[in-house]
């Protein structure tokens, strides 16, 4: 347990790794709870997913997307965004082709933070500013 805690804390305050940034688009370092969730995703990615084969048609991959989402929106928002992504990956052709030509591109930054969207904050702000739409 202690080693797990230390690993979590180390992950939380670790410097971003450039090689990983290239692979994941973005690496985040957050608090211990989020870092634990990210650790679980790393375990999935490094140990479980290779045995199952590459199944995610979207890029970043579903676990990479999930790590980014937890980093950006926290644990709850990240979970919501992850399940949303899992529901959407059955329809990959709705997304533009990724630069590798084999997958489809669905970056995290094209989706609003879960809290902003579900509580309507982003939409309320843009409409108060005179926008006709929430984009």
């Amino acid at each position: 347990m202690l080693s797990l805690f230390l690993l979590t804390v180390t992950t939380a305050w670790a410097e971003p790794d450039p090689a990983r940034m290239l692979r994941d688009d973005r690496v985040v370092t957050t608090g211990p709870v989020d870092a634990t969730a990210q650790l679980g995703l790393v375990v999935w990615r490094e140990l479980v997913s290779p045995g199952d084969g590459a199944r995610c048609p979207l890029r970043p991959s579903c676990s990479g997307y999930s790590r980014q989402a937890v980093g950006r929106d926290g644990l709850i928002g990240g979970i919501v965004l992850t399940f949303d992504r899992l529901l959407r990956d059955s329809n990959p052709s709705a997304y533009p082709l990724a630069p590798d030509g084999l997958h489809f591109s669905d970056p995290l930054h094209s989706h609003m933070p879960a809290g902003e969207l579900l509580l309507g904050g982003a939409c309320r702000r843009s409409r108060a500013d005179g926008a006709d739409l929430c984009l």
Partner: protein, 277 residues
């Protein structure tokens, strides 16, 4: 200057930058010509990947009288559109207000309209186009003036909260609607069966995934509405493409005509009149 203009036309930015340095070093330039060289060099610097330095140079050139000052102002607005769209649009509008006889008013009006439409301010874009005399196609006018075609994210979320997949269907994403309905129905069934058989571990696992997929479905519905709106927004912006005036550039100077040769004064002596016999 003709060489610099030619390099800019060919988009040879490295060549333009080098030539601008050479011209500045060697030539005794008038202030107007120097400002033009500086402007073209700032464009080259931006295209070579140093937008901050280019922006600083454009800020300096902004107060220059004549086309260079106007072009610098438009370049600053363009840079801001990429950073904060509303700020950039405000700068285009500022150009239109402060320069009633500006050389590039058409371009600024078009960019302000497109910038507003891109950010979802359709009624403002329509007003902007009308105020500046930009003639919109019937398609573009219809799209800008009919917000009913767009989907409200909160309505989509509420629908999916009631019945998983309903919001996605509202946002015209039938495949996602089917996926959300199926997955949520499966997990709901699993949870009910696990509770009936008092399988608490199975209920916990199904509950975690079931609740996750349920909220994911609500988020997905709102997100689908936004993606639908963005696709329509892109259609609106594309419909404005044919109205684009030619991009602003430095006005061509009238080439200096060679002076006509001065007539050589010829003294004509009157014809000799022969005396009559």
């Amino acid at each position: 200057m003709p060489l610099l203009n030619e390099l800019a036309r060919r988009e040879d930015w490295q060549g333009l930058h080098t030539e601008a340095i050479r011209v500045r070093f060697h030539g005794a330039l008038s202030p107007e010509t120097l400002a033009e060289v500086d402007y073209l060099d700032a464009v080259a610097i931006r295209e070579l990947g140093d937008p901050q330095r280019s922006l600083a140079e454009m800020e300096r050139l902004r107060s220059t009288p004549g086309p260079v000052g106007e072009l610098a102002e438009l370049a600053i607005a363009e840079a801001w559109v990429g950073i904060l769209p509303r700020q950039g649009v405000g700068m285009y509008q500022g150009y239109l207000t402060t320069r009633p006889d500006g050389l590039y008013r058409d371009w600024a009006a078009y960019q302000a309209t497109v910038g507003l439409a891109q950010d979802g301010y359709f009624s403002m874009a329509l007003t902007q186009a009308e105020a500046t005399g930009l003639t919109l196609s019937p398609d573009a006018t219809l799209m800008l003036s009919d917000p009913g075609r767009f989907k409200r994210p909160l309505v989509a979320a509420a629908l999916s909260g009631g019945l998983p997949g309903a919001g996605q269907l509202y946002a015209r994403q039938p495949q996602e609607a089917l996926s959300a309905l199926t997955v949520n129905a499966l997990f709901a069934t699993g949870m009910i069966l696990a509770a009936r058989d008092r399988q608490w571990t199975a209920l916990g696992v199904a509950g975690f995934f079931g609740v996750g997929f349920y909220f994911g479905n609500i988020y997905g519905a709102a997100d689908a509405a936004i993606r639908h709106n963005r696709a329509l927004r892109d259609d609106v912006v594309r419909s404005l493409d044919p109205l684009a005036p030619p991009p602003p550039s430095l006005p061509e100077r009238v080439p200096r005509q060679p002076r006509p040769p001065e007539p050589i004064p010829v003294e004509l002596s009157p014809p000799a009149v022969e005396p009559s016999p």
